[in-house]
């Protein structure tokens, strides 16, 4: 890795005139042809496929499912797995700020102007993209409780136990909400400083110990806070960190550029997966469904 000072004084070699071509005709020709191809392709597409036009807007008839435009369905997908403030605003804002900040963090001028400029760039890209796609899909399947349905069906189908149902002791592992509803929070109480802390884990009493004043209840709703905020945010921060550590262990990461390649590719994987799932795999009530089973009802 070239040090920052060395990179700063390094200058571009003298212009190599003999390696240059004239913009007219060499570049203008390519631009013209590509514009022509796109014009024709879009014209053909428009002649064959009509833009959708449903019934006139009616505030009293809600389609089920209601969906945002496809390019925001990744955010709408996030909305199903965490607090709306995180999914709709905070996560996209942070993602865009981090995206814009990449060049201010990865300042090494090495490897610019060529595709996948570092030694392990190809592997990092493929690994980041594939692993992120797989893990995101698995998380969505898990939060959609499909593992519960599949386990029950397999055990019943094999004739092992025709009445098999997901065990109550594993209710907390049904989906993300399971952490909220499947754990007996009320029986986990303990006392600190004379107060029964987290009496029902919904409202945390805040008071001054040793005084007789009734404690003020902080309506934190810890279980919901855990399932809708702590776990999703820990996942979104933790997985990229694990990715970087794993690839470092494999010896694939040597520069910041490598980390950027890994995380950006993983981001593209997550972006695509959530967009596709949100667009094609969400039916009524935003339940996971195969695309051919999705019907839009108006209610």
């Amino acid at each position: 890795m070239v040090s920052r000072a060395a990179a700063a004084i390094r200058t571009r070699p003298r212009r190599e005139r003999e390696a240059e071509v004239l913009v007219w005709p060499d570049l203008v020709f390519i631009e013209f042809i590509s514009a022509l191809i796109f014009s024709i392709a879009l014209m053909v597409l428009s002649a064959m496929v009509n833009a959708p036009l449903l019934n006139r807007a009616d505030p009293d008839t809600t389609p089920n499912p209601s969906k945002a435009p496809w390019y925001f369905l990744n955010l709408q997908e996030l909305l199903l797995h965490m607090e709306p403030a995180w999914a709709g605003v905070i996560v996209p804002t942070i993602a865009l700020v981090l995206l814009a900040a990449i060049p201010y963090w990865d300042r090494d001028t090495d490897g610019q102007g060529v595709w996948f400029g570092t030694k392990f760039a190809g592997r990092l890209t493929v690994f980041g993209f594939t692993a992120a796609t797989l893990i995101t899909s698995l998380l969505i399947i898990w939060d959609g409780s499909l593992h519960v349905v599949w386990t029950e069906n397999v055990i019943r189908g094999l004739g092992l136990n025709s009445d098999f149902a997901w065990p109550g002791g594993l209710d907390w592992f049904r989906n993300l909400r399971g952490f909220d509803t499947g754990i007996p929070w009320d029986s986990l109480g303990f006392t600190i400083g004379g107060f029964t802390m987290f009496e029902d884990w919904r409202a945390i009493p805040l008071g001054i110990p040793g005084t007789t004043t009734d404690p003020w209840l902080l309506n934190l709703n810890f279980p919901s806070f855990l399932s809708q905020q702590i776990i999703p945010v820990a996942t979104m921060v933790g997985l990229p960190v694990l990715f970087v550590l794993f690839c470092k262990m494999l010896g694939w990461i040597h520069t910041r550029r490598d980390i950027a390649l890994l995380i950006f590719s993983a981001f593209i994987g997550v972006y695509l997966t959530t967009t596709i799932v949100g667009t094609a795999f969400r039916g009524q009530g935003q339940d996971l469904k195969p695309p051919w089973d999705i019907v839009v009802l108006e209610e």
């Binding site: 390094r10 390696a19 071509v21 004239l22 913009v23 007219w24 005709p25 570049l27 203008v28 390519i30 631009e31 590509s34 514009a35 796109f38 014009s39 879009l42 597409l45 428009s46 002649a47 496929v49 009509n50 833009a51 959708p52 036009l53 449903l54 019934n55 006139r56 807007a57 009616d58 505030p59 008839t61 389609p63 209601s66 969906k67 945002a68 435009p69 496809w70 925001f72 955010l75 709408q76 709306p84 403030a85 999914a87 709709g88 605003v89 865009l96 814009a100 060049p103 201010y104 990865d106 300042r107 490897g111 610019q112 102007g113 595709w115 996948f116 400029g117 890209t125 550029r257 390649l261």
Partner: protein
């Protein structure tokens, strides 16, 4: 050695050539003559207001399709196409709750090529988003955001956001169920912001729910507000590509 005693007779081709490209009117428009010599080719680019976005010469590697896949240029081309089809659509469309939907129906049924016009506008809008995303990936994977191009990458991120906003504001205009509920879902997400969420949503909709005020706001942003802003950012973006030394190249 050339025969210096007598000029060769002009062929018919030369006569036609002179007639078209060397007459007074042509030369008043294109000062440089037909670009068939290196000098004229460079002048054709440098003296043309549209072409002078380009340098007159570029490095051999940059005209390879696989280096850029023309993605940035095609994004801009989509913007131009959307402007043209958008202006035509404005002839037939009135942004009022009473008229919007029936105007779209009438456009599709009564206007010659009206359906095609609307289709072109919609598919180009989708294409532009995809192209902008792919362009961003191209720039990232070729390391073209690295110094001295840091700021232009930031401008690019802003352009991506503006592209999404342009598409989102246009989505409401047909005033059908798809439009209405997509915007309802989208603006509800805005409303969930921890700070100024409800305020931003109210500002965007001009009310608490999607209605006539929202339609006129989205329309105004879609046809003039955001296009002006994105044009400014595009101007900066293209200017900076040139100022920062053209396309990125290994040092």
């Amino acid at each position: 050695m050339a025969n210096l005693e007598r000029a060769p007779r002009k062929s018919i081709n030369d006569l036609i050539y002179d007639l078209i490209f060397k007459n007074y009117v042509w030369q008043s428009i294109f000062r440089t003559g037909y670009p068939n010599t290196p000098r004229n080719q460079m002048l054709a680019v440098a003296t043309n207001v549209f072409l002078h976005l380009h340098p007159t010469r570029i490095h051999r590697t940059h005209v390879k399709i696989t280096h850029t896949y023309c993605l940035g240029g095609l994004s801009f081309f989509m913007f131009l196409g959307l402007t043209v089809t958008g202006v035509l659509l404005m002839f037939y469309y009135v942004p009022s709750v009473e008229r919007a939907y029936q105007d779209i129906q009438a456009l599709e049924a009564n206007v010659r090529f009206g359906q095609l016009l609307r289709n072109m506008h919609r598919w180009m809008a989708h294409a532009m988003i995809i192209l902008v995303l792919l362009h961003m990936m191209r720039v990232f994977y070729t390391g073209a955001y690295k110094p001295p191009r840091e700021f232009n990458w930031v401008v690019g991120v802003v352009l991506f956001i503006l592209t999404l906003l342009l598409s989102f504001t246009g989505y409401l205009l047909p005033w059908d169920q798809l439009a209405f509920w997509a915007i309802t879902v989208g603006t509800t997400m805005v409303g969930s912001a921890p700070v100024l969420g409800d305020e931003s949503k109210f500002l965007l909709l001009g009310g608490f729910s999607v209605g006539p005020n929202a339609l006129i706001r989205f329309y105004t942003l879609h046809v003039i507000g955001l296009p002006l802003v994105i044009s400014i950012f595009m101007a900066v973006h293209f200017w900076r590509v040139r100022r920062d030394g053209g396309l990125a190249r290994p040092l």
